[in-house]
Symmetry: C2
Subunit: 443 residues, 2 copies
């Protein structure tokens, strides 16, 4: 065991489960561990109280002749249930071959602790860093980061930086360095179709009045053509199509169609024609029903015409779709499709734009050089289909792009029993941090 691994195991042993109030003390102890670590390394740490768990910030001396890099991570972890499915104790790090099994090993302790150790090694070797570094480590990511955006707002000046680096995303395969340069945006709405003033007997009235469940279904069906192309007028108007290099890059990745089927268990693919599964998941917008309901859903039958029925929709967005505009177009479309014999109610939900950074920018290229150095292999450039609100908050509040340099392997089991992180990626992460700060220092 290297001293680095020993220290990492110590960090892993804190059961810093943010959602469980019985672990409040463990979360704080974990933050204290980081405070001590930063102090030993020679950085200046600060522990910031929040209405929830503390945020740890640590920095070196700020000098104007070098860029400032914010490194974000989270030291809280997911619960361990179902605990009986763990092969080893969830908070006793256990090395089996190359894998370290422990809750939080990949998500996110291993990934940000590698950055901490990279900085420590550079300080030991050179007594200084090529950049101003600010670590920002929160203890509430697994509960939705309720206090992070307010914290960024309140400390905008002290957190001012040129670029952010986060290792909390995935690698497409072991040994294949991966940079995520885009995330889809989101826009949600719920609509309700109101019909009769009470549930009706479907025998007495069926056939003469509109059935809200039928109308909801017809409105949902009006969203797509039979292949999955979205039919809301204007929906695709602002979509920036994928560039040839992106499609080429993604086509070179392990077969996304097969992986999509294997991971989901779906019998087949479905979606607008002309795009691969990865292109549809990462680079194209969607209109999905997240929930639909109306009438009697219990056992057996109850022959009613329900007084109302509803559906919850979410749209995943790509650049340059404006979430507010998409919600407006969708609402108008639904209103236009709803027959006059019913009343449609639309309630708008949360939204956020797509995030895309230029991977060929100077910072992007620096990150790719660092990935190549750390893994001795050509980095792959991907996007992800989900949204990461933190990245958007950093963009909105601090005004900087984030380099998403994931170290999570496809089989690392985050949020599930038997989470693991490999020693290989732990060491690659340390090397990645050193190379990254060097490359960014040249900018």
């Amino acid at each position: 065991m290297t001293p680095e691994l020993t220290e990492f195991f110590e960090f892993l042993r804190f059961p810093s489960i943010s959602t469980d109030s019985r672990h409040k003390g463990d979360v704080r102890n974990c933050a204290d561990f980081l405070m001590q670590k930063f102090t030993r390394m020679g950085l200046k740490p600060e522990l910031h109280e929040t209405p929830g768990h503390p945020i740890v910030v640590a920095r070196n001396e700020k000098r104007d002749d070098r860029p400032t890099v914010l490194i974000y991570g989270h030291y809280d972890v997911q619960p361990v249930d179902p605990v009986e499915e763990w092969d080893t104790p969830p908070f006793e790090p256990t090395l089996v071959g190359d894998k370290i099994f422990c809750r939080g090993a990949t998500d996110n302790k291993g990934q940000h602790f590698a950055h901490i150790l990279g900085v420590e090694a550079a300080l030991k070797e050179h007594g200084d860093l090529p950049v101003n570094v600010i670590f920002l480590l929160e203890g509430e990511e697994e509960i939705g980061s309720p206090n992070l955006a307010p914290f960024l707002e309140a400390h905008k000046e002290e957190l001012a930086c040129d670029v952010c680096a986060v290792s909390d995303t995935g690698m497409i395969a072991p040994g294949v360095p991966t940079m995520t340069y885009g995330l889809r945006g989101i826009a949600c709405l719920e609509f309700t179709v109101h019909g009769p003033t009470l549930d009706l007997h479907s025998g007495v009235y069926g056939g003469a009045v509109p059935n809200p469940a039928t109308i909801v279904a017809r409105l949902v069906a009006s969203l797509h053509d039979e292949n999955g192309k979205i039919l809301i007028p204007g929906f695709y108007d602002s979509v920036v199509d994928l560039e040839p290099w992106e499609r080429e890059m993604w086509a070179s990745l392990p077969d996304g169609d097969a992986a999509t089927l294997a991971e989901t268990g779906s019998k087949g693919l479905w979606g607008e024609g002309g795009y691969t599964a990865l292109e549809q998941r990462w680079g194209r917008p969607t209109a999905e029903v997240n929930g639909i309901g109306g009438g009697y859903q219990g056992e057996g039958s109850k022959t009613v015409i329900p007084r109302s029925a509803m559906a919850k929709l979410s749209f995943r967005l790509v650049a340059d779709q404006d979430p507010a505009e998409i919600l407006r177009l969708a609402s108008e479309h639904l209103q236009a499709q709803c027959p006059d014999s019913c009343r449609l109610e639309v309630e708008l939900g949360h939204d956020g734009p797509a995030y895309v950074m230029d991977p060929h920018s100077d910072y992007g290229k620096a990150a790719q050089s660092a990935l190549k150095k750390a893994f001795q292999s050509e980095p792959r450039l991907i996007r992800e289909g989900g949204s990461i609100p933190i990245i958007q908050a950093i963009k909105d509040i601090l005004g900087v792009d984030t380099l998403l340099l994931g170290l999570a392997l496809p089989d690392c089991q985050i949020h599930a029993p038997n989470e693991s992180f490999t020693v290989t990626n732990f060491e690659a992460g340390i090397a990645l941090n050193r190379a990254l700060l060097e490359e960014l220092g040249k900018q």
Copy 2:
């Protein structure tokens, strides 16, 4: 108060709520009251035990030179909840003007007690009846008559008859005698669309795999054209269209379109073109969604692609649609519409054919003469949109048609607080029974 009314009030006071086990004794006491009444009248009553509440049968002497008429009714009643909305005690009959307020006043004690009193009056006057009469009064109609069909099967011989008469349907308006000669049939199914093996993150996978909620909606939408015409191939093939006299008769009734809107509170009508609301409700088949569900239906949003979604459908049928054939056509249509990328599961539910008798048959004409005599007005011939399984059981097991001679007024509030029956209809019911048995005796 006439002696008839006094006796009726006595009958009404039994809180014979069949669904509530605390009232089991009251239901039996009510049956005993009928037994004693029939004995006093000179009929031979029998109390038949069932696994639930007893069935009372009473008959006069059977003679081969006259037809046998079965008169069905039910002495059990609905619960009284919400009891605080009653203006008078639910089981203390209260006369206000022409109206007798009491639970069970219309449904169904008043309607069949009038028949009992009609027979009593005829016996008093003539010492005999023009027909063989069999009263069949059950105590489980409000809980779905679970023991009636087995009872009919077991006593087929003793219950053999030429025609059945039931007063348990509606009159279109006060003073307007109404005969219901048709009821729609029903066929139910539930279908489930299965997609991925687990609920998916709609960001990670959205756009590439089929969403079962979307597919369920598309299948439901495929059932109708935009006006409500059913698109299942072959669905209308066996439909006997309305005859000119029926459309003319129904057009002469109070405005069914306006009444449908007023009763349902629907903003507008919806249905296949070319038919009035009454024609659609009584004489045309339907495809209704009674329930639809999938994904997250709680507060706020949860951005999943649900692993499955379902809908419950019921089809209301008219002559000569075969329920099994309709379920087969519907299942085939759904299978044909479901994309290969999903798996469709169809579960068939209960069904029963439409019931239509010829109102211009000898018995039908006899019933109309009796209605005209009792109400001094031309009877109207209608159908109803719902199904009455008892009527179908009588047809299937005893092989006879039923004359549905309703005495329930539109504002009688059956199943609701402040149920009432008018003295006018109580007396008309007695007269109706006497006229009916006389007319039937001539056949």
